[in-house]
Symmetry: C2
Subunit: 361 residues, 2 copies
């Protein structure tokens, strides 16, 4: 490792943009962001929507996954997450479309916004500004203005909690204040055991990063933890610059478990991390345990983690924080700065170049 | 390799249950299965549902993904796929729930069926029989009876095309006869180039299996090809007994592309296969090309495939057939029988044992 990860100063040698600071700020943002969402001024006609569609990509879209998973057994309105250009054909005047883009310049989300306008949908924009902010304001739609400078993935509190607040205000979601507060407290409590000053022996995020170093990371989670497993995967991709995948329980019991044998080299190159929420759903607990047993039979050493907290939201955020720190330390072990994402910059430039065609000689 | 894969007899040495026969029969099943779905007798009250929920797991659930992807820009009714116990809270009397389980004994699907009954939903069962068939018949719900003996994943034509036929009958989907016929013709045509008699040099399924042998398989697909990428992944898991994952475009451009660097060993242990549908969506074409370029910059050699056919359904089924044969030949290269799935048998037995508790001493 290129740095001393046992002090903030040591970490910042590889982290000049201070992702560490973003990780430390995160838990304190939950409640203010939720309250701000509840206060957003919305047209009365936005209540009683037939469906909610969260249109966004990456760190914006995953907030929709968290909301859908959190509310799936207590919300009478279907919540869809749409990660693409345009919108599904069912979106119409009775659909609430939340167009969510941190920068406001995500081309898929702008396309979704334009389609939502043409469909006459009820639209809310969630953004720091950019083109989405301009278009939404010009057309008179409500805009939740994110006022936080960070890479989009580090602004998860501002894609997730305002969305929850908005849905509470629209009576799609119940009052979640107590859950949000517990989630903030649990996440803040976890900070004490994952911060740089805690050495590897008593720091679960560092220990897990050590186990994952040199391996492809595969994260399993079911029910409310499926989007959390996805978050781990994307954080390893973006922060650690590493290969990672996620799979959902119970679905993975119907296919992935058959595939633990080949190639044999996977025993040395894949690490499976299982996210559990003991007591929340007995079937998922049992399935995670038996899946771990199957992995061990195939020569793997899976790491099984247990979410802490009383409420579902607290458990989700507990493991979210652990995953964020895990991906941060894995970046340091890989010797890379967690903040820049050069392939995404290349991709945007290359797509723009192709759209404009060859430049004149 | 343990067998001569250039003849059907050679293949069957490792394939005593004749998965080969199932692969050869597949294309001829599309149209009859679609027509049978259209003929299912349904209560008049099943029309004008607010949502369609396809409840199932594995090879049953993926039929719902295919339907949702196929119809997403021409269907005014949202189609949800539910891979879990129970049902989302929004399911009610105006929801059409298709409970789909080949065996009829999938515990998640039985749980969904029971929940749908309690919610007063409109229910259709799609099954060979089993407990689901019994419960649905006893309660007077329509049952589409699958009359085909095969491992569930090899019965995809019977989870997918009857579902399409049912949705056509309910006017959720348009008349798809022409697309179904073209899909059958394209799939049958592809058989000629992937069957055992075609040697590796002129057989794309064998050539791809050779490239994937010894590697973790990662499949990318966007839009209508996202469920096809998932199908490839599950077929590698179950037929080839190998590690495999899928990711969706354009979402993977927002995270996965940053993760091509670590661990460096992934260059020798991961193969990325990109599924393209040239001309269907210009943005996805461009994104797949630039993604391949990023992989090459990171030292990978991705394989980019192009779907053939005029209609979307034909293109989906073209690549589905190619993936099925690819996974079959990869099983032979791995020296394993493609049909048995011992980990799933172990899992079912172990879950049953835990539910019953320790046996008396």
């Amino acid at each position: 490792m290129a740095v001393d990860w046992n002090s903030a100063e040591g970490c910042r040698a590889l982290d000049p943009a201070d992702m560490l600071g973003r990780l430390l700020e995160f838990p304190a943002q939950f409640r203010p962001a939720y309250d701000a969402g509840r206060r957003l001024s919305l047209p009365a006609g936005y209540k009683h929507s037939r469906q909610v569609v969260v249109a966004g990509m990456g760190g914006s879209a995953i907030a929709g996954d968290y909301v859908a998973a959190l509310l799936r057994d207590r919300c009478r309105v279907p919540v869809f997450v749409w990660r693409d250009y345009g919108l599904p054909a069912f979106a119409g005047p009775d659909t609430l479309v939340v167009a969510s883009s941190y920068s406001g310049n995500t081309e898929e989300t702008l396309s979704a916004f334009d389609r939502a306008r043409r469909a006459g949908a009820r639209i809310i924009a969630l953004t720091t500004g950019g083109e989405l902010g301009r278009r939404a304001e010009a057309a008179g739609y409500p805009v939740f203005k994110i006022d936080y400078q960070a890479p989009p993935r580090a602004a998860l509190a501002y894609s997730l909690f305002p969305l929850l607040g908005i849905l509470t205000a629209l009576e799609v979601a119940p009052d979640l204040t107590a859950e949000v507060d517990e989630a903030g407290a649990v996440a803040a409590g976890l900070l004490e055991t994952v911060r740089p000053e805690r050495p590897e022996g008593s720091n679960p995020a560092k220990a897990l990063a050590r186990a994952a170093h040199g391996r492809v990371v595969v994260v399993y989670g079911g029910g409310s933890l499926e989007p959390v497993a996805r978050r781990w995967k994307t954080q390893v991709n973006e922060n650690s610059k590493g290969w990672a995948f996620f799979e959902a329980l119970p679905e993975l019991n119907h296919n992935a478990v058959v595939g633990f044998t080949y190639p044999p080299a996977a025993r040395d190159t894949v690490l499976v991390i299982g996210l559990g929420s003991p007591g929340e759903a007995a079937e998922l607990d049992a399935r995670l345990e038996v899946t771990a047993e199957l992995l061990r039979q195939a020569g793997h050493e899976p790491r099984i983690l247990a979410a802490r907290g009383n409420s579902r939201l607290a458990r989700m955020m507990h493991l979210t924080v652990l995953g964020d720190w895990f991906s941060y330390y894995l970046a340091l072990l890989n010797g890379v700065d967690p903040t820049p994402v050069p392939p995404i910059d290349f991709l945007k430039a290359e797509l723009a170049r192709r759209r404009e065609g060859p430049s004149p000689a």
